[in-house]
């Protein structure tokens, strides 16, 4: 295996992947777990992925594992979970995390891929393994839900940086 090539790719992408995973989960520790698992799977397939698009593959693993985690979690008593939302995080991060918590995991995945990773609708559809129509509808639903339910986020968006 080309460990040097893999390491260089990870070095260049890991922070962005971690940031995306954080937006998907709202939890740094779980984001790290998701990214770690995705990178391990990329490493196992590096020979085939190196000349392709390992980033898209990693994003797919992260997004799907996160959705699977949510589905599993429904069946577990809520007492066993404690939101690891960092009370130390900056206010903007807190507002965004709270806003994204209003979305379903699938809506959040579309929103992060489209508006943070800047993927096209087709690229987003490919990563998530869904149709472009699903990406469009999930994106619209996510934005509508943020509009009605996350006014503090809108306030941040409308603010001059």
């Amino acid at each position: 295996m080309d460990e040097q090539g893999f390491t260089e790719w990870v070095t260049g992408r890991q922070r962005q992947l971690l940031r995306s995973a954080y937006l998907l989960t709202g939890d740094l520790h779980r984001a790290e777990d998701l990214v770690q698992e995705a990178l391990t799977k990329v490493a196992l397939r590096w020979a085939r992925l190196a000349d392709g698009n390992p980033t898209a593959y990693a994003l797919r693993i992260i997004a799907r594992d996160n959705i699977s985690w949510w589905r599993r979690r429904r069946d577990v008593p809520t007492d066993s979970f404690r939101d690891a939302g960092a009370s130390e995080e900056p206010e903007t991060a807190l507002v965004v995390r709270r806003a994204l918590a209003r979305l379903t995991p699938a809506q959040r995945a579309v929103l992060v891929l489209r508006h943070f990773e800047d993927l096209t609708e087709r690229e987003t559809a490919d990563v998530l393994g869904v149709s472009i129509g699903t990406v469009k509808s999930q994106n619209a639903a996510a934005l509508a839900r943020l509009r009605t339910g996350a006014p503090e986020l809108l306030s941040l968006i409308g603010r001059t940086p």
């Binding site: 460990e3 893999f6 390491t7 990870v10 890991q14 922070r15 971690l18 940031r19 954080y22 937006l23 740094l28 790290e32 770690q36 990178l39 391990t40 990329v42 490493a43 196992l44 979690r73 429904r74 809520t78 007492d79 979970f81 404690r82 939101d83 939302g85 960092a86 009370s87 130390e88 995080e89 900056p90 206010e91 903007t92 991060a93 807190l94 507002v95 965004v96 995390r97 709270r98 918590a101 209003r102 379903t104 489209r114 508006h115 943070f116 619209a140 509508a144 839900r145 509009r147 009605t148 339910g149 006014p151 503090e152 809108l154 306030s155 968006i157 409308g158 603010r159 001059t160 940086p161």
Partner: protein, 433 residues
């Protein structure tokens, strides 16, 4: 949506960059070894041993920075000079409630059936049928498939249906509204606002006002329908539109106000945030005619979903302390009822919200005050279910802490109820067990 990209980027700037490559390589090697030699876990070879796991530096949470708050006249005021909402009074905190059990609350008859579901198999006749045009109003409206279903007001609790106008809906969550007295119905179409008297046989349509962003990515919502006046939001601005004439007036609020509630006495209440950088000041804003008063509300932390009457305000409150670290129940998420005279806490209903989904996820919201002490609210449970759960309408008596189920329906189904037609708890208290 470059602005959204900018905010998402800003929100993740504190995320560090630990060395994940070495650990991934080690993990990959472990799995290869497992595959090659099942049961020989003791022989796992760690390639890249001594992996450095850089503990990322989290940005410490600073105190809220005081930054000037803009005033409606274009000036600024130092937040330190603003009156402040007092912190939650521990004496006003009620028993901890788990919203997951909302569906099992005792039912109270406020004029709605316990299951707010029109019949599936035997639809009642369309309201346009001649014998039914005398129907004066509706207690509730539910949107399902391609029809609207209205619960009558004549005491028989029958359901009647009618067709939508032939126009696509606006991209919105709250596109449907029933007036407080149950006589008017409105929905936000793609190109205009449709409305009808419930007993009428036709829909009317008025154009959205100039400047109204009907195609806004954040969608259109009907925030209230009072008599023949609809209050619409296009995601950024709010408008008051006469559904008969189409006359529209923009509701002017300070630019930093993001959440607006129109109290029955015409007072506009809002939640605002101001400041630059990652920190800002939260504020409660009250507008009575041309007078605006601003009260700093940081002590309450995050508030959303206001509902007001002449004397009180209720909102969903979210705190930034993880539930496991809450030193007491004032540090839990919940519903807070405030006295509008001095913003003191009338009551606080702390909830079990381990995933913050009920509050931050928007699953628990207030709707209106039914009387001086009773709040109508809704919750979708279980948390995390979103559109797959059950929505329960319930009452919260802020004086006694008593919670009652009013009605329930599948989450995700659009509906509205005629607030003024819901019976007063006080008037039927004798039959509540």
């Amino acid at each position: 949506m470059t602005d959204l990209h900018r905010v998402l980027t800003e929100a993740t700037e504190h995320v560090g960059s630990p060395d994940l490559a070495g650990r991934a390589l080690a993990g990959a090697h472990r799995r290869r070894v497992r595959r090659a030699a099942a049961g020989a876990l003791a022989a796992v070879v760690l390639v890249g041993g001594g992996v450095a796991w850089a503990v990322q530096d989290r940005v410490p949470h600073a105190d809220v920075v005081d930054t000037p708050v803009p005033t409606p006249d274009g000036g600024t005021v130092d937040p330190a000079d603003l009156p402040a909402v007092p912190a939650i009074d521990p004496g006003a905190v009620q028993a901890l409630w788990d919203p997951a059990g909302a569906g099992r609350l005792p039912w109270v008859d406020l004029g709605l059936p316990e299951s707010l579901q029109p019949p599936v198999e035997t639809y009642d006749p369309p309201i346009e049928s001649p014998p039914l045009v005398s129907m004066r109003g509706a207690r509730a409206v539910v949107a399902r498939d391609d029809r609207l279903y209205l619960l009558d007001t004549d005491g028989t609790r029958g359901w009647y249906s009618l067709e939508w106008p032939d126009e696509p809906l606006a991209p919105a969550d709250d596109y449907l509204a029933l007036s407080r007295d149950g006589t008017m119905l409105s929905f936000a179409g793609r190109d205009g606002l449709w409305s009808r008297e419930v007993r009428s046989s036709r829909w009317r349509r008025v154009d959205y006002p100039d400047g109204f962003r009907a195609g806004s990515e954040y969608g259109v919502s009907i925030e209230a329908l009072v008599a023949e006046m609809a209050y619409l939001s296009d995601g950024e601005d709010r408008w008051q539109i006469d559904v008969q004439t189409g006359r529209a007036d923009e509701i002017s609020v300070p630019p930093y106000v993001y959440d607006v509630e129109l109290a029955p006495n015409g007072v506009v209440l809002g939640l605002g945030s101001a400041g630059r950088g990652p920190y800002f000041v939260r504020a409660l804003v009250e507008m009575i005619g041309s007078r605006t008063s601003v009260t700093r509300a940081d002590a309450l932390q995050s508030l959303t979903g206001l509902a007001a009457d002449e004397d009180s305000l209720v909102a969903t409150r979210g705190v930034s302390t993880p539930p496991g670290d809450a030193p007491d129940d004032t540090w839990r998420n919940g519903l807070v009822a405030l006295d509008r005279d001095d913003w003191s806490t009338r009551a606080y209903l702390p909830i079990r919200d381990p995933r913050w989904a009920y509050t931050d996820g928007g699953l628990l919201t207030s709707i209106a005050w039914l009387d001086a002490d009773t709040v109508l609210a809704q919750v979708v449970a279980p948390d995390g279910a979103y559109d797959a759960g059950e929505l329960t309408l319930f009452t919260w008596n802020v004086e006694t802490g008593e919670l009652r189920k009013v009605a329930a329906l599948p989450a995700g189904q659009r509906f509205d109820v005629a607030i003024d037609l819901l019976g007063s708890l006080g008037s039927i208290a004798g039959v509540v067990q």
